[in-house]
């Protein structure tokens, strides 16, 4: 099969965008963001992101949307942010695999922040 060039990919993207179904982030109840910059990946952020995805899938949390961003500069990585309308932004730091499971179970599903992992909060 012939290799696709970047110009081929641009053309395909333009064609496909016409058929795009826009995903509605703002309609969701809970938004989780995992910082995936170099320093985060180095400290295990990929495992944290995958664990959160596994747990959200396993528990069928359809009100949760997961995204990722770049480096969480100045914060102890891996960093996970949870935004809930009415509750604001809760920031977790030094998150490991077991911590990620707790965040999903206790905060995303149970509704209560995991206080011993919280490094910041914004209304």
């Amino acid at each position: 099969m012939a290799k696709l060039s970047l110009s081929d990919l641009h053309a395909i993207r333009e064609r496909e965008e016409k058929n795009l179904k826009k995903r509605d982030i703002h309609g969701r109840t809970v938004h989780v963001v995992v910082a995936m910059g170099t320093s985060g990946i180095e400290k295990g952020a990929k495992l944290v992101l995958n664990t959160i995805a596994d747990e959200v899938e396993k528990r069928g949390l359809d009100n949760v949307i997961i995204t990722q961003t770049g480096a969480a500069e100045g914060r102890p990585e891996p960093v996970v942010e949870v935004f809930k309308p009415g509750e604001g932004l809760t920031i977790y730091g030094n998150v490991g695999k077991d911590d990620a499971i707790r965040i999903v179970a206790e905060h995303l599903e149970g509704g209560k922040a995991v206080d011993d992992l919280v490094i910041g909060h914004e209304e």
Binding site: R13, E16, M36, T38, E42, I65, I66
Partner: protein, 157 residues
């Protein structure tokens, strides 16, 4: 310590931070060694030697992704600029991290740009793309999308 899958993610992150809208990743099994090629349409902001001294595509003082790749590949890497695209190539020892494609590719496809991934191993090529995910409503950002993404990866595998 970065796995091969981590290095691909680093490269994709690097391309994303350089403003790429489209990223094409090729991973080819050369018998115990993976040859990785990342092609993107991001900005070229490198000055001087791109690898050993912590050069960055993310602006001064940030980004060690290229240095990490250089170290992990023990210098078996190159970064070139073509007309409107950047090509990063490197070779690293197989560590089995592509054995779990679901977890290797989920973080790659959660990033914003359009990503095309081709994995060639034992004479078999597997292709994955953001466009496929859109068509199949398998963008892995929510529970139903993650389920659909898992099914998509398993079907390809």
């Amino acid at each position: 310590m970065h796995s091969v899958a981590d290095l691909v993610l680093e490269a994709v992150e690097n391309s994303t931070e350089a403003g790429a809208g489209i990223i094409k990743a090729l991973a080819e099994d050369e018998g115990g060694i993976w040859m990785i090629e990342i092609l993107d349409d991001g900005e070229w902001v490198i000055e001087g030697d791109p690898f050993p001294e912590g050069a960055t595509t993310k602006g001064k003082g940030r980004g060690r992704g290229l240095s990490i790749i250089w170290e992990a590949s023990r210098g078996r890497c190159s970064l070139t600029r073509g007309e409107g695209y950047t090509q990063l190539r490197f070779r690293v020892e197989d560590d089995g991290s592509f054995g779990d494609l679901f977890h290797a590719l989920l973080p790659v496809f959660l990033r914003n740009p359009d990503v095309w991934v081709s994995i060639r191993s034992s004479g078999v090529e597997k292709r994955f793309s953001t466009d496929d995910l859109r068509r199949e409503d398998a963008f892995p950002s929510d529970a139903s999308g993650i389920r659909a993404f898992r099914a998509y990866i398993e079907r390809q595998g």
